[in-house]
């Protein structure tokens, strides 16, 4: 006996515009639904949990400023990831580049901070952080552009090296970066001149507006300039690029370096903003990895990243506060992130294919 119908994937000749918005939203909804199952299974009330999360993430005044503050670095690491992804270069080592950006800008804050005023220090710290991120991706970028070595493996592995660098400087006694006389190992705070003040008593820093402008600038760069044009040609057909005399190796190198610099900049923003020192907890937060998810959710569109970055930050701040107020594990937020990525990637199938059910005919007509 045959099934009364079968499913057929039919390639779409054209992707309807509305799906560009529907697929990410549906991914989030589907992920929340999966979350419901887990919350039920572990004995928490899904409705209460979600409404608390929403309240703490978006609806309260501290919630929204915390979320926007949290989104600052996430948007930065997301544009870092998207900048490489759009050229089919998979820099998944944004996490490591962020660590190195953090390390270098901490050094700048400690070493130069006492001698320079704030309006000089802030740009200096950010530039040094970005340069460190670019430096950390230099080797993967070079071997990728010259030899075609997989950047996925090299950038990922260098993240572990970067994590150990950070830990080394925090945990080694007598380290330049380590705060003296603390019970638990902790980094030394950078000079005040290397830090920005938040708005009032919130956790929102001016860097948020900077990063929004940065995302819009990148959008313009890719859509309207000759550099963006080259990126599009190379990512679609490298042979057409060669035909037109476009140097793909050089563009590959520069795109990866910029991607690394953006991730490093994210690290610098942690220093000038909320953190201000090498913090042993940083390696648990996964800003770089979250950036990959946010970029995927926004399909590497730089203006959409602003929205998906804020959404993601809301899930995080909501999840964190949940743990404090209701003792729901913080991991529900992390789990939702993973589920959203999974559905966002799976949702691509709906953009490319139409799914039809076909009744199986028993006898033709």
């Amino acid at each position: 006996m045959r099934a009364p119908f079968r499913l057929v994937f039919e390639q779409r000749s054209e992707t309807p515009k509305y799906l560009a918005a529907v697929v990410p939203i549906a991914s989030v909804v589907a992920a929340l639904f999966i979350g419901v199952i887990f919350l039920f299974a572990t004995g928490y009330s899904p409705w209460e949990t979600y409404s608390n999360m929403f309240q703490d993430g978006f609806a309260s005044s501290t919630g929204i400023t915390d979320t926007l503050g949290m989104s600052t670095v996430l948007i930065c690491t997301a544009v870092a990831a998207a900048f490489a992804f759009q050229m089919n270069l998979y820099n998944i080592g944004g996490e490591g580049q962020l660590y190195m950006g953090m390390l270098a800008s901490t050094w700048a804050g400690l070493a130069l901070g006492p001698h320079l005023p704030t309006f000089v220090m802030i740009p200096v710290v950010m530039i040094i952080g970005a340069l460190a991120g670019a430096l950390w991706i230099l080797i993967p970028a070079y071997v990728r552009s010259r030899l075609g070595t997989s950047e996925i493996v090299t950038t990922l592995l260098l993240t572990y090296v970067a994590a150990n660098f950070i830990n080394h400087y925090i945990y080694t006694s007598g380290s330049y970066f380590r705060a003296p006389n603390t019970m638990f190992p902790q980094g030394r705070l950078v000079a005040d001149s290397a830090r920005l003040d938040p708005f009032g008593t919130t956790n929102l820093y001016p860097t948020f507006f900077f990063v929004v402008l940065l995302a819009l600038f990148l959008y313009w760069l890719v859509k309207k300039t000759e550099y963006g044009y080259k990126i599009q040609v190379i990512s679609d057909s490298p042979r057409a690029a060669k035909y037109a005399g476009i140097n793909a190796n050089r563009t590959t190198l520069s795109v990866m370096l910029i991607s690394g610099a953006l991730a490093g900049l994210g690290g610098a923003m942690l220093i000038v903003g909320p953190v201000g020192r090498l913090d042993p907890g940083i390696t648990a937060l996964g800003y770089g990895y979250a950036g990959i998810v946010i970029a995927a959710l926004a399909r590497n569109n730089f203006s959409a990243i602003i929205v998906s970055g804020i959404l993601f930050a809301g899930l995080r701040t909501g999840g964190e506060k949940l743990q404090i107020s209701t003792d729901t594990p913080i991991h529900i937020g992390v789990m939702l992130q993973g589920a959203i990525l999974l559905f966002a990637l799976g949702g691509e199938a709906f953009r490319r294919y139409r799914i039809k059910t076909i009744r199986t005919k028993v006898v033709a007509q």
């Binding site: 309207k224 300039t225 000759e226 044009y229 040609v233 057909s237 057409a240 037109a244 033709a364 007509q365």
Partner: protein, 523 residues
Amino acid sequence: MSSTSHEVAQGPHHSGGAAPSALSAHSIVKRFPGVLANDNVNFDINAGEVHTLLGENGAGKSTLAAMLCGLYQPDSGYILRNGERISLPSPRAGLQHGIAMVHQHFKLVERFSVAENVVLGSRDLNFRIDRNTIDEKVAAVAESYGLPIDPTAVVGELSVGQRQRVEIVKALYQGAEILLLDEPTAVLVPAEVEKLFENVRAMTAAGKSIVFISHKLGEVVEISDRVTVLRNGQVTGHVTGKGSANTKELAKLMVGRDIDLAPQRASHPIGHEILQIRDVSLTLNGVDVLSNISFNVHAGEMVGIAGVAGNGQRELADTIAGLISPTSGSVSIGGAMSTDKGPIHARELGLAYVPEDRLGVGLVPSMSILDNLLLTRDRDFVVDRASLQPEASRLIDQYEIKANGPEHVARKLSGGNAQKVLLARELSGGRTATKLLVVCSPTRGLDVGAIETVRRVLDDARSAGQAILLISEDLDEILSLSDRVFVIYRGAIVHETPGETADLATVGAAMAGLSSTTSEGHN
């Protein structure tokens, strides 16, 4: 699959109790999103005959063939095999009814031997494969249809023609009585086409039916017992009787209007030398790809380079275009050296280049027509698309490109329209006015209508005094258009002849490496 096969009472054919057709399709309708691919199509074939499906790209001939072999299912209509209704939910079901398709793009495992490829997918294999037995069985099948082939040869080392023969042997081995050959000659050189036609005749003599799918009129006339012409999914004509079709009539049925594929070789003045190639040799990865090539192309002259694919044509074109630096020798365009200076420099000297691969090399598939026009032009840092808009619209009109405007994405253009965009860009000049046009396989895979346009564009460019280097595997095209013809074989020019007096047989022999002058060219 239902085993209930109905006797169809209302069968429209076989009046007077004649034997039913080996295979027939009745009132076939097939829709794809936005397209009516087959509109009430009828088709039938008898044992031992060659029945050709002729039509332009998109006319619906491949769709019909796909339904005859079980790859697609019709939306309505029915198929009879020896007068009995059959349903073909899959190609395997087609095979069970003795129907097999030989695809244009071969589906062979290159690392396997001929015999291994032939038996691949057959269900009567044991867990342990006895090579000697299958080799013998495959050789026996091949031999019985006059298709000699070494069963132990590795497919990856075979020529295209031989690979095609493997596909045919595979279909026969699987018990095919009806073979559908999808554009089988598209990949073959003239000598191989002859051999294929011999095989087709041997198979029909043995009672097999051949559905021949093509848009090459000359071949269709030569091989077919009957021809069915399709246009826009409908049957527009039948011609019965071997040799009774003529190409002009078929072209008209196919396109719907009169067609002239060989523009008059207008008498035009030939000017000074534009392209000069001196002793160009090229060695890639230790292989001599080009050896000691020297020739000139003059203003107002079209020089054709004939040859079987893979004899260095692509590399020669790339070398002239500045994409490859020759190992030795020099190229100059308009009197200025362009060797080793890259593609942008060559274009600044007046080069225009239409590469063999339209989408992926000549055009960026995901980009709009407008952005593709920018590919070979100077671009400011902030790309000024607005000012190019009027020119893009004008070119779309001038070259009769079927598109929704300059924003139409290249990927969604038909082959003919993509080629027109490419020609429009290259001939409209970007950096400097075009002096030299290098075109590779400009009409491959195009509709008859588009072929006519492309050839006219090339002819106009020549009349306007541009030097044209035409590199093509289509010998008819080379001979009907070129002022001078060169034959390239293993990277060397082995034969030269004026276009008007060129002899098809001599040029064909030179392409196959049989020319008497071959020895002097290389090594």
